[in-house]
């Protein structure tokens, strides 16, 4: 790999790793695992850099790798352990409205979704990908993305309602 690509790689990692890690976290539900997934994906990216830079683009490749591995990891995790949830952030006197609890509800709600639906919801509403982009990312049809997203949102909404978290879905279509 030429030297200029090394610098491009470093720049890319600096710019994209945080967003990738957040996406991975929402899909797999564990920060440490998310960090591992992102590092693995970025290592794969380094090896494949000349090829992906010419084809789909490095960011799309990295995100696709992260999301698909996170989906697999989430499935394995669901089989291996029944533990879930999130340690709430430090409570403080300014957290009167229970923001950390809300975060835990969101993460718990995402964990309760089937892996594919979870990925669809995260890619659509956190990463702001279109239905078509999400379908390409996951290697499924646009119809699957629409149905999985709709199902995921319904389940999330039900979870939020049980937890008393209001949710405004006006900002996004469910298709």
């Amino acid at each position: 790999m030429p030297r200029r690509d090394d610098e491009a790689y470093v720049e890319f990692v600096d710019a994209a790793s945080r967003g990738l890690r957040r996406t991975a976290y929402l899909v797999c539900g564990d920060w440490e695992q998310a960090e591992d997934l992102v590092q693995d994906a970025l290592l794969k990216l380094y090896v494949a850099w000349p090829r992906v830079a010419r084809s789909e683009g490095v960011h799309a490749y990295a995100r696709r790798t992260v999301v698909n591995v996170a989906i697999d990891a989430g499935r394995r995790g669901a089989r291996l352990r029944s533990t879930s949830g999130e340690v709430p952030d430090l409570p403080d006197s300014h957290d009167a409205v229970g923001q950390s609890d809300t975060r835990a509800v969101v993460v718990d709600g995402l964990r309760g979704l089937p892996a594919r639906a979870r990925a669809c919801v995260v890619l659509r509403y956190f990463d702001d990908l279109s239905v078509e982009e999400t379908a390409r990312m996951l290697g499924v049809t646009t119809g699957t993305v629409k149905s999985q997203t709709s199902r995921g949102l319904e389940l999330l909404k039900a979870t939020f309602e049980r937890a008393g978290v209001a949710l405004d879905l006006v900002g996004g279509d469910t298709a």
Binding site: M1, D6, Y9, V10, E11, V13, D14, S17, R18, R21, R22, T23, Y25, L26, W31, E32, E35, V38, Q39, L42, L43, Y46, V47, S82, T83, S84, G85, E86, V87, P88, L90, P91, D92, S93, D95, A96, Q99, D101, T102, R103, A104, V106, V107, L110, V121, V122, Y125, F126, D128, L153, L156, V165, A166, L167, D168, L169, V170, G171, G172
Partner: protein, 344 residues
């Protein structure tokens, strides 16, 4: 106005407190990976042959060491065989020195039995240290400033929260990780600067057990996967909730580093009354030179266990006519009583 889903996701995935990935380190790893891959193509089968030889030579050693036992099923804490009707001392069972998990038949289910809990999240050491430090400063002031009386007196403190899911779907919060006073007999040092210094990095997994006290308090013990450490959480306040600015009023936590060696803590773990006949859990730091502890109800010995560097649990059932144990007695090697305290 309700937040939209994007805002909720943004908040849930807030990583402002997390370190940025080291791009240069990743680059170096990528280069090594690339070199290894290229080299692997060149040497091909030779590497595989060496790997097979290495694995073959390693296997006997691993077999001799024995595998680290897996954590027990979260909802099935370590239990000895129950002896519901017997008035004889209940034989205790504990993890062996190599971390062998306590085994026993599953206790009979009863309406009173509510044991079992699972930890819903474990923390990385770095995260725990950071949160512990923040909590220390917030609640007790910075290290080096005058030590509050409560800290001097108790030597234990609230640190951070570990959420535990209880049978029935409820959740509780347990504090993690805070060093405890090294023993009952020595004053605590300024532990506000000691967050994370007690080794709990081996806590790759947790085996929780739970005891709900009659007054609504909560106790949980969490064993490390390799049985070298335990996190002991105790919430004294009935009905403690996380609705206020302080998560669990009156909670305490002891991270007991177990095993042998300087600074390690011997513990015993006996029992406590729970809903009539059944009880289990309880215990504390071994005092003086006690080698075993027993629990009595009047003159009747209910249970006995060896004090050791480690933590174990037992579940026992009170003999007929006994409603609760009332005293714990520790014995020295010669059989003399070296510790004795009532169970309130």
């Amino acid at each position: 106005m309700s937040p939209d889903i994007k805002e909720l996701f943004e908040a849930a995935a807030d990583d402002a407190q997390r370190d940025q990935l080291d791009a240069r380190a990743l680059l170096a790893r990528g280069k090594r990976k690339l070199r290894a891959r290229n080299a692997g193509v060149a040497v091909g089968g030779g590497v595989a042959a060496v790997a097979v030889l290495l694995m073959a030579s390693q296997l006997p050693r691993e077999l001799a060491d024995g595998p680290v036992p897996p954590a027990q099923t979260p909802t099935q804490p370590a239990t000895p065989t129950p002896s519901a009707a017997s008035s004889a001392p209940v034989t205790t069972s504990r993890p062996g020195p190599a971390g062998t998990a306590t085994t026993g038949t599953r206790p009979p289910q009863s309406a009173a039995q509510t044991s079992g809990a699972e930890v819903t999240r474990k923390l990385s050491l770095a995260t725990a240290e950071e949160r512990c430090s923040l909590r220390m400063r917030a609640e007790y002031g910075a290290a080096g400033t005058p030590v509050p009386d409560s800290l001097q007196r108790d030597g234990v403190y609230v640190t951070d929260l570990l959420r535990i899911r209880l049978p029935g779907g409820q959740t509780q919060y347990c504090s993690v990780p805070g060093p405890a006073a090294p023993s009952y007999d020595s004053p605590p040092r300024d532990v506000r600067e000691a967050c994370g210094r007690l080794a709990w990095m081996n806590l790759t997994s947790w085996t929780p057990a739970k005891q709900e006290t009659p007054d609504g308090g909560f106790t949980a013990a969490l064993w490390s996967n390799d049985r070298t450490a335990v996190l002991f959480c105790d919430t004294d306040d009935p009905g403690a909730t996380r609705s206020g600015p302080v998560a669990i009023q009156g909670a305490s936590v002891q991270l007991l580093r177990t095993g042998t060696g300087t600074g390690w803590v011997r513990v015993h773990w006996l029992g406590s009354e729970r809903a009539g006949r059944q009880y289990w859990g309880g215990g504390g730091v071994v005092r003086n030179d006690a080698v075993r502890y027993a629990m009595f109800a009047g003159a009747r010995k209910l249970t006995e266990s060896t004090a050791f560097y480690g933590v174990y649990a037992l579940r026992s059932w009170l003999p007929a006519g006994v409603t609760k144990p009332d005293r714990v007695v520790g014995y020295g090697a010669d059989g003399s009583v070296v510790d004795s305290y009532p169970i309130p």
